[in-house]
């Protein structure tokens, strides 16, 4: 954790910026950490690392597939490369390179994917990756992490470094409120975090949707609905025990993510529940459509991924 600039609850920071800052923190301690970027250092925020460690920041140019292969070669020689690009390219364009050059040989490559989800905003559908979690979680041995705020994102980068093997880290472009308390927060790979206990419905959320769900919960509470809110930062391996326990307790499950309802958190939760505790599930996400241009907050509202949309959907589901 950063001791120089402690993050305060309520501050707004994009998790891509957390990524850049955390790379510096972890890179200070580990000289084998090398950051690769594909001409997006300003946007992915690896430029922060470049400033601190220019000799360990390699720009590969606009060639994400090559960047992934180079990272595989670096890892085969004992380095810990973090490759960085937008999720669309890091996971989408790159799927087969990640699968065959990184996943199959289980090389120690970390994928820092920024600009995930519809909150990319104005760039529109071509750049709003809504399929990356689905793609990455099908690769054997791949860890998939979608942090919710700055505190969690920086802890996730450190955890990714400490984990030996490939890790996919999903970050956002939009500045989002910090809700975790840096002083007490602990990141445990593969473990969900119960943010609020409840008895009427369980809401599993990930990424920036966690904070929106916490806001929605306040509205639900006014209506007398006791929601249990669980932050799933690690989508793979998912916290099976916690998913089952909470689903059995409340009997109703909602998942919330800034990702397609096909293959993401919702599917991962359903994969567990259909085997271990069949439960009715409402998947809130992007409903099998492409995104569009617009300011991020307006899009989150339009696609009902903000607190108001989540509140409305959960309320209808619980009744």
């Amino acid at each position: 954790m950063s001791e120089i600039n402690p993050t305060k609850i309520g501050m707004k920071i994009a998790t891509r910026e957390s990524y850049g800052n955390a790379l510096v923190e972890v890179g200070k301690e580990h000289e084998d950490l090398i950051v690769l970027d594909a001409d997006l250092a300003g946007a992915t925020k690896t430029g922060i690392f470049k400033k601190a460690f220019p000799e360990r920041h390699w720009d590969i140019g606009i060639a994400e597939a090559n960047m992934t292969g180079i990272a595989a070669g670096l890892a085969a020689c004992g380095k810990v490369p973090f490759i960085s690009s937008f999720a669309m390219f890091a996971a989408g364009r790159n799927f087969e390179q990640v699968r065959n050059s990184v996943g199959y040989p289980h090389l120690n490559v970390k994928i820092g994917a920024t600009h995930a989800g519809i909150s990319v905003g104005e760039d529109g559908a071509t750049h709003q990756c809504l399929e990356d979690i689905a793609l990455m979680r099908t690769i054997p041995g791949m860890v998939v992490i979608n942090p919710a705020d700055d505190v969690e994102a920086r802890a996730a980068v450190r955890a990714a470094y400490d984990h030996v093997g490939p890790v996919y880290l999903r970050f956002g472009r939009l500045a989002v409120p910090v809700f975790n308390d840096e002083a007490t927060y602990r990141f445990e790979l593969g473990k969900g975090i119960v943010l609020k206990e409840g008895s009427d419905v369980t809401i599993f959320a990930t990424g920036l949707c966690v904070n929106e769900t916490l806001e929605a919960e306040k509205l639900l509470e006014k209506d007398g609905i006791q929601a249990e809110i669980i932050n799933i930062h690690t989508i793979k391996p998912i916290d099976r025990e916690l998913v089952v326990k909470s689903a059995v307790k409340t009997g109703k499950v909602v998942t919330v993510e800034e990702h397609s309802v096909i293959g993401g958190l919702g599917s991962a939760v359903c994969d567990v529940l259909c085997e271990e505790a069949p439960t009715k599930v409402l998947k809130i996400g992007i409903n099998d459509v492409f995104g569009e241009s617009g300011p991020a907050l307006e899009l989150l509202h339009k696609y009902e991924l903000d607190a108001e949309g989540i509140y409305r959907k959960v309320k209808a589901f619980v009744k």
């Binding site: 090398i34 000799e55 390699w58 590969i60 140019g61 060639a63 597939a65 090559n66 992934t68 292969g69 180079i70 990272a71 595989a72 070669g73 670096l74 890892a75 085969a76 020689c77 004992g78 380095k79 490369p81 087969e96 390179q97 065959n100 050059s101 199959y104 040989p105 289980h106």
Partner: protein, 278 residues
């Protein structure tokens, strides 16, 4: 090794290729046989490696970017003593460590998993860059197919390697002129290959890739070339050494049946005997 010793070794590698593919009833003999001299020269003459210590820290690295010609790599590794030659008959068999395409996790001496065309060269470039970063002397070799270089990622890798002046990297293009659907020219001509690599800031050498004198000269030239990676465009004969497989596109990815296996091995025995008379 003398050229005669290398030729004898290459012939043994060819026997290993034919034996492995026959036993598997599947695999890629044509492009394995065309590169037998290249595999032999790398593993018996050029590379700093230790079969007793396959993961030796500062060893030279080899990436078989055209991973489907794994039988050639495996036969050379076995001949060099990385694992028992008897294991070649388990190639592609269920439960064998000798997977259809190179698997670095389970095969001693394999430095990178490969097989999806176009990806291996990038990994080799990463290894070469790691060597430069660590100020190590090791060299990195990647073998690509002349059909494989139709993949765009090859040129992404070449552009970065040239731009970063990775003179510890040698790319060998096995230019046997054939790919699955026909000659490389019929499908999508990669020619001129040398000019393309030159344009990507490589030093280039054109050789007969089935000739040890020319291989020796080319690899020495690569070693002496500073400030640029080297591309060796090795003109070879696909299926070389087995009469009915030579320059025959059908033998890209097909295994000989029992009868054909006998003929193939007899061809190679004949070559071996002739070499013993020298």
């Amino acid at each position: 090794m003398t050229n005669l010793e290398l030729e004898k070794t290459a012939n043994e590698v060819r026997k290993g290729i034919v034996t492995a593919v026959h036993s598997a009833k599947a695999g890629h003999p044509g492009g394995s046989l065309s590169a037998a001299e290249i595999f032999t020269y790398l593993y018996f003459e050029e590379m700093n490696i230790d079969p007793k210590n396959p993961k030796m820290a500062d060893r030279d690295r080899f990436v078989l970017s055209k991973g489907h010609t794994a039988p050639g790599l495996y036969a050379a590794l076995a001949e060099r003593g990385f694992f028992p030659k008897e294991d070649l008959v388990t190639f592609r068999h269920t439960g064998s460590y000798l997977q259809g395409h190179p698997d670095m996790k389970h095969i001693p001496g394999v430095d990178m998993s490969s097989g999806s065309l176009g990806q291996g060269l990038s990994a080799a470039v990463g290894m070469a860059a790691a060597g430069k970063f660590d100020k190590k002397d090791y060299r990195v070799y990647a073998l690509c197919g002349d059909g494989e270089i139709q993949e765009g990622q090859i040129w992404e890798a070449a552009m970065w390697a040239g731009s970063r002046k990775l003179d510890n990297l040698v790319v060998i293009v096995d230019n046997n002129n054939l790919q699955i659907d026909g000659t490389v020219e019929e499908v999508c001509s990669p020619y001129p290959i040398d000019k393309k690599f030159e344009a990507f800031n490589f030093h280039t050498v054109n050789i007969n890739g089935n000739d040890f004198d020319e291989l020796r000269a080319a690899f020495n030239e690569a070693r002496q070339t500073k400030g640029k990676p080297t591309a060796i465009i090795a003109r070879t004969l696909k299926g070389k050494g087995v009469s009915f497989m030579e320059n025959a596109v059908d033998w890209h990815g097909k295994a000989p049946n029992d009868e054909e296996y006998k003929v193939a091995m007899a061809d190679l025995e004949k070559v071996g005997e002739a070499l013993c008379q020298k």
